[in-house]
């Protein structure tokens, strides 16, 4: 347990710190593409993704890590991803976004994270299990679940296309302009390095996986409500470091402040959190587990889930906020 704590907690602390300074909210990254044609935060996400991808596949080739793609549960990815995407608009942040805002004193995000934990636990072990189980039962053959398996291209070619294509797009970006925190380049590089560090840290305890928020949120709820200590793993410690790291970052920069939106808005955040929990637990991951770690591992189901998370976030933004 001490070893797991010592490996997981520091990763969460630096992640929380970088998320807060980089204002790295993937809901905002996805939404700004739609409502203000601004790709600044989306660029930070793509940079983080390709940096992590290059490092972990390099370490995999060197024999230090084992990077495996996820099972291709395509219907769960589509439905779960969409519900998660709509949920983050109501919750006021994606899963990493809501978790780091806890450390900034955003009371509405405390409510959203509570809903998220409830939704994840209900889907993994409770009342929502049958619905998720049905959706997860639609599974394509495992070999089709990687981007190389799906396209028939060799793995190195897929990596070259993704990293090269992403790199060219980023290199053509306008100069970053910053008003409050880190530029997107620094935020993306930091998150990408931390995402790769998560794989390395996990490898020391035989966990072949990177950053993840949904499973750990569920395991934390499971430990709190049942006392089952075996539920506490690397990810549970990591996730507890995130609000602490964000709190440190916000305090040092004078940005920590207790603040809450109107009561009715907080009820929406609770509902959004529950939708996030069901969606992510069904899809097998959230904007971190799928969009960063899963796509990094070249999982087809993660790319599919991410596309539907983005579409869901656009739908939710349109329905609940723009069309008033």
């Amino acid at each position: 347990m001490i070893k797991i704590l010592a490996l997981g907690l520091p990763v969460g602390l630096v992640l929380g710190y970088a998320l807060q300074r980089g204002r790295f909210c993937m809901y905002t990254a996805f939404r700004d593409l739609l409502i203000s044609r601004d790709a600044t935060l989306f660029r930070a996400y793509i940079l983080a993704l390709i940096i992590q991808m290059a490092i972990i596949h390099g370490l995999d080739a060197a024999g230090f890590l084992t990077v495996r793609h996820f099972a291709f549960t395509w219907l769960a990815a589509i439905v779960g991803g969409s519900i998660f995407g709509v949920g983050i608009t109501l919750a006021g942040g994606c899963s990493s976004g809501s978790w780091y805002r806890v450390g900034e004193g955003m009371v509405g995000s405390w409510v959203a994270v509570m809903g998220y934990g409830l939704g994840v636990a209900a889907t993994f072990w409770g009342a929502l299990r049958p619905a998720a189980g049905y959706l997860i039962s639609f599974e394509a053959p495992y070999d089709m679940g990687s981007l190389q398996g799906l396209t028939g291209l060799p793995k190195w070619a897929v990596l070259a296309i993704l990293i090269g294509g992403g790199g060219i797009w980023l290199a053509r970006a306008p100069r970053p302009k910053v008003f409050t925190g880190w530029p997107w380049t620094k935020a993306g590089a930091a998150i990408g390095l931390i995402a790769a560090l998560a794989w390395v840290s996990s490898a020391f305890i035989g966990r072949n996986y990177g950053l993840s928020f949904t499973g750990p949120t569920g395991s934390l709820v499971r430990y709190i409500t049942t006392g089952q200590i075996s539920a506490v793993g690397w990810g549970t410690w990591m996730i507890m470091g995130v609000p602490l790291g964000a709190f440190i970052a916000a305090s040092w920069s004078g940005e920590f402040k207790w603040r809450a939106p109107a009561p009715d808005r907080m009820v929406k955040q609770l509902i959004g959190g529950i939708m996030m929990g069901f969606g992510a637990a069904t899809a097998g991951g959230c904007n971190i587990g799928h969009s960063l770690t899963g796509i990094g591992a070249l999982s087809a189901t993660s790319l599919l889930a991410t596309i539907f998370i983005i579409l869901g976030s656009w739908l939710g933004t349109y329905l609940f906020f723009m069309r008033r």
């Binding site: 809901y27 905002t28 601004d38 302009k177 008003f179 940005e255």
Partner: protein, 74 residues
Amino acid sequence: MSEPTTLDLKGEICPDPLIQVQDAMKKGGAGDCFVVLLVYPLAVENVARWAEAEGHAVDVAQKGSEWEIRIAMA
């Protein structure tokens, strides 16, 4: 030069700040000024970035834990 319109969005969370600024500015025209009050840094980023990309003159000032964005419409 008309009186600036003040938008106090300190109690709002994303995505409301950006959408409310966009809605308010749709009703304005060249020369109109807006003062947007915010407490959330990410909202400051995306409101200021959007307004600049639209070609308006933008000035961001931090006052303690609050931000004031002044936008003069082009």
